[in-house]
Symmetry: C2
């Protein structure tokens, strides 16, 4: 699982700070999460092939999370894209994009498929053989979802030597991988775990931005491998966090602790602070394994 | 008159190429012309004070000319702008911006004044004591206007020594500056041009992008000091220019010649060509005084 941070600052793009956008590579998918102004140029800088992006997830309709979307869609058109493009985001996103295509008299020559979200409870919005994506309803000034990307539980690893020794017919091997007990050629019941072992823990990534502290997301993202949780402010500005419906680094860490995630990744920083380390220091008072997202940083999880 | 080229390429922003946006400083105004994606960051790079921008002129609703507008408006809001902002552009521009403000529940705290254009003939859209702005109806795939920025004719320069010698009462000096003949204290009629001289030629700037070759703009922009005329293609791709309703460098030069402008500025280049000099070379076969716009270049005219 590889995560590329294209931008991780709040509010407005600046000379050295991009607004929110990330690319998550998981099981051959390349999911684009949020799309602030300038995202298409950041994708080019990172040499990410446009055609590999087939699903874009937009958290909410504040500009620092989606003002780059219409430009990206338009650029795909100019580059004569043919592959379908799926857009997941709040109701209204389709109207914004199609109004601009209509007034420009420039419709895409590829299929643009909108999945508009309105649910206030978590729902499964994407699924294939290996990956599922769920929404994480958040609490911000407008309707907002985070997204939970999960590898499905893989098949158990078969110890072929042990299976042969136990005289199991090869026809049963796929049953074994699925976790079933089977009967050997001699009519003996073979317990599954004597010839198989658990698969690796499936990877998962929970993206939560923008939101104020919202404890009931814990049950949705429990045991996530990586949690990206916004930390716009420090605890000393907790009043601002409440007022603007954002979180502090400390609150992000509390969610990480309660959800028992492996790694907490901070981001969506206000530019009022001189250094990013202050966010990490504050979070680590509550939860140890903290990483800082930074524009251009690539994480291998 | 100072012109800052923030971006001058066609189609899509790239790592090293910005799409159309320019800042024209004329008589203490700072006019922003077009606003491709990323314009706000280019304004920051050039240290152009956001509050000095009070009028934004959008040529047409193709993304490479206005996808940065909604982000700029939003950033002005976040920076608690108070000054009015006037937006001139095709009908529909207000709906695009207000739809996004509505869905973001983020209305500006300053006055946002839209001047939506629909006329197919040139019209005066801005005027103060010293400057006028006219539309230049163009011929592109969708409704498009160029803009003609003109200093008004200044007052004549008074030769005070000559006026005193001719025994003209100081009460008549303003009449003289306005070009009138006056009567001296001795009752003699004094011809205006014996005590005054012409003011400097007023500066003017005609911005014409995007458009195919359209000869009837010549009468509107005649004798302009500087003409920016799009030159997306070279003559060898004239068929593409017709098909996409753009111009070649040669056609831009023909317009410059017929309109008897002082300087032709080329721009809106397709990125298919290796160098910009080929545009200049082609144009100079028709019209001598050619300049190339380039991202980040500042012209003092």
């Amino acid at each position: 699982m590889r995560l590329t941070i294209l931008g991780c600052y709040s509010a407005t793009p600046r000379t050295l700070n991009n607004t929110t956008s990330q690319v998550l590579e998981i099981n051959n998918h390349m999911f684009l999460i949020d799309c602030g102004e300038g995202t298409q140029v950041e994708l080019r800088k990172h040499k990410i092939k446009f055609n590999r992006i087939k699903h874009i997830f937009i958290s909410h309709l504040h500009g620092d999370h989606f003002f780059g979307l219409v430009g990206l869609i338009s650029t795909f058109r100019l580059l004569t894209r043919e592959a379908d493009l799926n857009i997941y985001g709040p109701k209204g996103i389709k109207e914004i994009v199609t109004l601009q295509m209509k007034l420009a008299d420039s419709w895409t020559n590829y299929n643009l498929i909108f999945h508009e979200l309105t649910s206030k409870t978590s729902e499964l919005i994407f699924e294939d053989e290996k990956v599922e994506v769920y929404t994480i309803p958040l609490n911000h000034r407008i309707y907002t979802n985070g997204y939970f990307f999960k590898e499905k539980e893989g098949e158990r690893k078969l110890n072929i030597e042990a299976a042969e020794k136990a005289q199991i017919n090869v026809a049963y091997y796929s049953k074994l991988k699925q976790g079933f007990d089977v009967v050997s050629e001699n009519g003996v019941v073979i317990k599954n775990d004597t010839v198989t072992s658990a698969c690796e823990k499936p990877k998962s990534y929970a993206f939560c931005s923008d939101t104020m502290y919202k404890e009931d997301i814990v049950s949705i993202i429990e045991n996530a491998h990586v949690l990206y949780h916004e930390s716009t402010f420090l605890d000393k500005h907790a009043n601002l966090a409440v007022k603007t419906k954002h979180s502090t680094a400390k609150e992000a860490a509390l969610i990480a602790k309660k959800a028992k995630v492996d790694i907490l990744l901070l981001g969506h920083y206000s530019t009022r602070y001189d250094s990013l380390n202050v966010f990490k220091d504050e979070a680590q008072e509550v939860f140890k394994n903290v990483e800082l997202s930074e524009d251009g940083k690539v994480f291998e999880f």
